[in-house]
């Protein structure tokens, strides 16, 4: 269900405005292609927590590459399926998981952030706030735990605040590379994801990942997290 919201209306609009011939062909065959979602704020709006330079590279280069390669992998998958090439289908799975996961995760990430003047950093009120206190102790405990797990994560990955929708409990999880949160449990819904790939902070914080983690909480968009939580937990 989350995937449908990622496919923007622009895909159809772009068809008429000179999209690449292959993409047009793919779309006309019924293959849904994905496109880079716009950020709901300027690149510089999250300063000084996250620099404009990082936001621009992260969005226009890294996320765009995931989208491009995801579309490519899906086209190849469609071909392989049409030809009944089981081996090719299986071989494509890692590219689909990586690039599709990258697109999914980053789409959530942009919504997880918002400028301070638009409420970024303001702690959640209402049911999510209570749930954090009940399930995880307190907001401070949550932040400390996510920062500790993010700092300890080796290599590339994400640290998540998720909702186990079967047990209606909040969980903190990490995933490696671009694995979405569902790879840790099919019943997990991501509320907040923090990108701890080096590209997410390197130009500004270099190797001092803990400083990045400390500062990102100033621009975390709890409004979005509360909306998702309330939708699942009405």
């Amino acid at each position: 269900m989350a995937l449908r919201t990622i496919v923007s209306r622009k895909t159809l609009a772009a068809l008429g405005s000179g999209l690449r011939a292959e993409a047009r062909l793919a779309a006309s065959r019924g293959l849904v292609t994905f496109s880079l979602p716009d950020l709901p704020y300027d690149y510089g709006a999250l300063e000084p927590a996250i620099s404009a330079e990082i936001m621009q590279l992260h969005h226009q280069k890294h996320h765009q590459t995931y989208v491009t390669n995801y579309n490519k992998a899906l086209e190849q998958l469609e071909d392989a399926m049409a030809k009944g090439d089981a081996l090719a289908v299986v071989k494509l799975q890692s590219a689909i998981k990586f690039n599709g996961g990258g697109h999914i995760n980053h789409s959530i990430f942009w919504k997880n952030l918002s400028p301070i003047r638009e409420g970024g950093g303001e702690p959640p009120k209402g049911s999510l706030g209570w749930a954090i206190d009940t399930d995880l102790g307190s907001m401070e405990a949550l932040v400390q735990r996510m920062n500790a797990e993010g700092a300890a994560l080796q290599g590339s990955g994400w640290v998540w605040l998720g909702l186990d929708k079967d047990f209606k409990k909040l969980v903190v999880e990490t995933t490696a590379n671009q694995d979405p949160l569902v790879t840790k449990g099919a019943n997990l819904v991501p509320l907040i994801g923090i990108d701890v790939w080096e590209h997410a902070y390197y130009l500004q914080y270099k190797n001092v990942k803990p400083d990045y983690l400390k500062n990102i909480w100033k621009v975390i968009n709890w409004k979005y997290a509360s909306e998702v939580y309330e939708k699942e937990c009405h």
Partner: protein, 266 residues
């Protein structure tokens, strides 16, 4: 190969000669047998030496790889990341009465634990990996290998161009953080290009690495930002030291027979 100096503020493994410049950082040398003789045995003046691994300098100045790898990047990559792994490893070994006695090679293999790594693996392997990586590069590197090494590459990859393409393709298709290696496979007795994730290292399964490329983002982000392709090409064309690779494969041939001996016919 270049000469390397021990970083002044760290000590080397205890079986290497002490460097005079290190005396200000002496902690107690933990020698279990001596400790058993009671607290009065070691003189009160004996300083506490806790020394396991040191931060080895790359065999060139930090600005020697410009413009392909900037001094600024090396200062962070070597001075912060690599240094951090060394300090982290030393801290872990302080608490471990068994692991501290291994050589770095042995430590990597033991802590890899056949794919179920112990907590010390990440630091140990990354220390090994970065030492190896700095030595795999040189100012004025790139170009082509020669003689026996080139012949072996042509035998196992078809051509040098083929090998180069495979290596670049592996670097670009490595998802996440990791390393790309030119490896001599011990069992198969052939060269291969191998990708590993995070800190994993082919010596863990007893293969012989000949050269490596760090594809963690910290290895290139300051110079190339997101453009890993440009970084890989700069490495292949201007940084990789085929001299070092030659020396390594010569040594490897003492352990792996790469061809039938040429027995002259009487």
């Amino acid at each position: 190969m270049g000469s390397f100096s021990l970083h002044a503020s760290c000590l080397a493994k205890h079986n290497l000669p002490w460097s005079n410049g290190c005396s200000q950082n002496l902690n107690s040398l933990r020698i279990p047998a001596l400790q058993q003789r009671g607290p009065g045995f070691l003189s009160r003046k004996a300083s506490k030496i806790l020394a396991f691994y040191g931060l080895k300098s790359p065999p060139y100045a930090l600005d020697a790889l410009e413009p392909y790898m900037s001094k600024r990047l090396l200062e962070t990559h070597w001075g912060e990341h690599h240094h951090g792994y060394v300090e982290g490893l030393n801290k872990q070994l302080e608490k471990n009465d068994i692991l501290y006695s291994y050589t770095l090679d042995e430590l990597v293999k033991v802590t890899y634990n056949n794919g179920n790594p112990l907590p010390e693996f990440n630091n140990a392997a990354q220390v090994w990996n970065h030492d190896f990586f700095w030595e795999s590069m040189q100012p004025g590197g790139g170009g082509m290998p020669e003689l026996g090494l080139l012949q072996q590459i042509e035998k196992d990859f078809g051509s040098f161009t083929n090998f180069k393409e495979k290596f670049i393709e592996a670097s670009l298709s490595l998802f996440g953080s990791g390393w790309v290696w030119l490896v001599l496979k011990r069992q198969e007795k052939r060269l291969e290009v191998v990708k590993t994730s995070n800190a994993v290292n082919p010596i863990a399964w007893d293969d012989i690495p000949l050269m490596s490329l760090d594809t963690w983002e910290h290895a290139y982000y300051q110079d190339y930002k997101h453009d890993r392709g440009k970084y890989v090409n700069a490495f292949m064309n201007h940084l990789v030291s085929w001299h070092v690779v030659t020396a390594r494969i010569i040594r490897a041939e003492a352990f792996v027979n790469l061809g039938e001996p040429k027995i002259p016919v009487a």
